[in-house]
């Protein structure tokens, strides 16, 4: 009897486990920007929401951080992307959802240091309690979302097809999607995947 109830417990546990591991809560294409009016503290000590910075032609929300080697490897490429499109009506906000209690290198102070040192040409903000990441269904860094002029999701995923090695990039997914968006075309590849660092969710 004891063994049976234990088995039942284990099976229930497994089912619960499976239920929480799915990627299905990812924001669907065509969705509005979640929590677009929630104010976040930035590295230049402003309080901004995604709506505050939204671009006339499009808005990029990038789940970002300091420490992750995939972010580090993408830093220059992302800066180049932002510089290419900032005068074309595309606004960019990078959001750090990692709990600094878990990763000390992702504290607001360190974010300020990085923004200054690497001359980030975009808003870099802190996602208190990872509420924005949760609402987006973001899982990792880097994790990029591109919204159109009407603030509907048109692209989600990676910056390009070779995050770990810039020399092997064949497809610049985000750049292509942005160009298509600006040209009023349908997005050919509206989602992509890359290996990334899991978001370090705050402990309850």
């Amino acid at each position: 009897m004891k063994i049976k109830s234990l088995t039942k417990l284990v099976v229930t546990f497994i089912l619960t486990f499976v239920g929480t591991s799915s990627y299905s809560n990812e924001l669907k294409l065509g969705s509005d920007i979640p929590m677009a009016d929630v104010k976040m503290r930035t590295t230049d000590d402003r309080q901004v929401s995604i709506n505050d910075i939204a671009g006339e032609k499009g808005t990029v929300v990038a789940f970002w951080c300091n420490h992750c080697p995939y972010v580090v490897a993408s830093r220059e490429r992302f800066t180049n992307y932002v510089n290419d499109f900032k005068d074309k009506g595309i606004s960019v906000i990078a959001i750090n959802s990692n709990d600094p209690q878990i990763v000390a290198g992702d504290s607001l102070e360190k974010m300020k240091e990085f923004a200054k040192k690497y001359k980030y040409p975009y808003t870099y903000s802190i996602d208190q309690d990872a509420q924005i990441a949760k609402a987006f269904g973001a899982k990792k860094t880097p994790h990029i979302y591109l919204f159109d002029a009407n603030k509907k999701l048109v692209y989600v995923g990676a910056i390009d097809d070779s995050v770990s090695n810039p020399k092997k990039v064949k497809e610049q997914y985000l750049k292509i999607a942005t160009k298509e968006l600006l040209a009023g075309k349908n997005i050919t590849k509206s989602n992509s995947k890359a290996i990334g660092c899991s978001i370090k969710w705050p402990k309850k």
């Binding site: 486990f17 090695n165 899991s198």
Partner: protein, 167 residues
């Protein structure tokens, strides 16, 4: 006395060489990854996706080594696939050596997207991640977050029990 020290140094060095031989680290592309799961004959195959720089991966790593040793006699195998950058193989080997992983491990090479989807369309690509397969190479379960030892062992036992009942 000097001879004694010299001899003891030789003994210590040679014994550690025997005990901790260089770990086997093979490159794994998308085709190899598919073969790895499809050709699985172990009752339960656990694949752990990790990287040396990934703090939660490093934290859970010893539990997987322990789990492998604990359930090996029930035909459970644990395979580690490192997602360190391709030029970091020496660091990966050093890490595997430290944890005495004396069975073959892998390091992922090539493009991400086909590789991620070959394991599961539902996997975002976040590390750490852990996948469980049966002896037909079918995916039983996956989780894309850190697992603590208790949960890992419960999951292994739960599936061993589940597979036994299926037969």
């Amino acid at each position: 006395m000097r001879y004694l020290i010299a001899i003891s140094i030789i003994i210590t060095t040679s014994s550690s060489l025997i005990l901790y031989a260089d770990p086997i680290l093979k490159e794994l592309n998308v085709e190899d990854a598919q073969k790895l799961t499809q050709n699985n004959k172990h009752k339960l195959l656990i694949i752990n996706f990790w990287a040396t720089w990934c703090a939660p991966c490093v934290k859970e790593f010893p539990s997987f080594v322990k789990g492998r040793n604990k359930y090996k006699n029930q035909d459970v195998e644990v395979i580690f696939i490192s997602h360190d950058f391709e030029d970091k193989q020496a660091e990966v080997k050093e890490f595997l050596k430290r944890y005495q992983v004396d069975w073959p491990s892998y390091i992922k090479v090539g493009y991400d997207e086909p590789y991620i989807n070959s394991f599961s369309k539902d996997w975002s690509g976040a590390l750490p991640a852990t996948f469980l397969y049966n002896d037909k190479g079918e995916l039983l379960h996956f989780v894309e977050s850190e697992i603590n030892e208790e949960d890992l062992f419960k999951t292994i036992e739960g599936y061993l029990d589940f597979l036994k009942k299926q037969k």
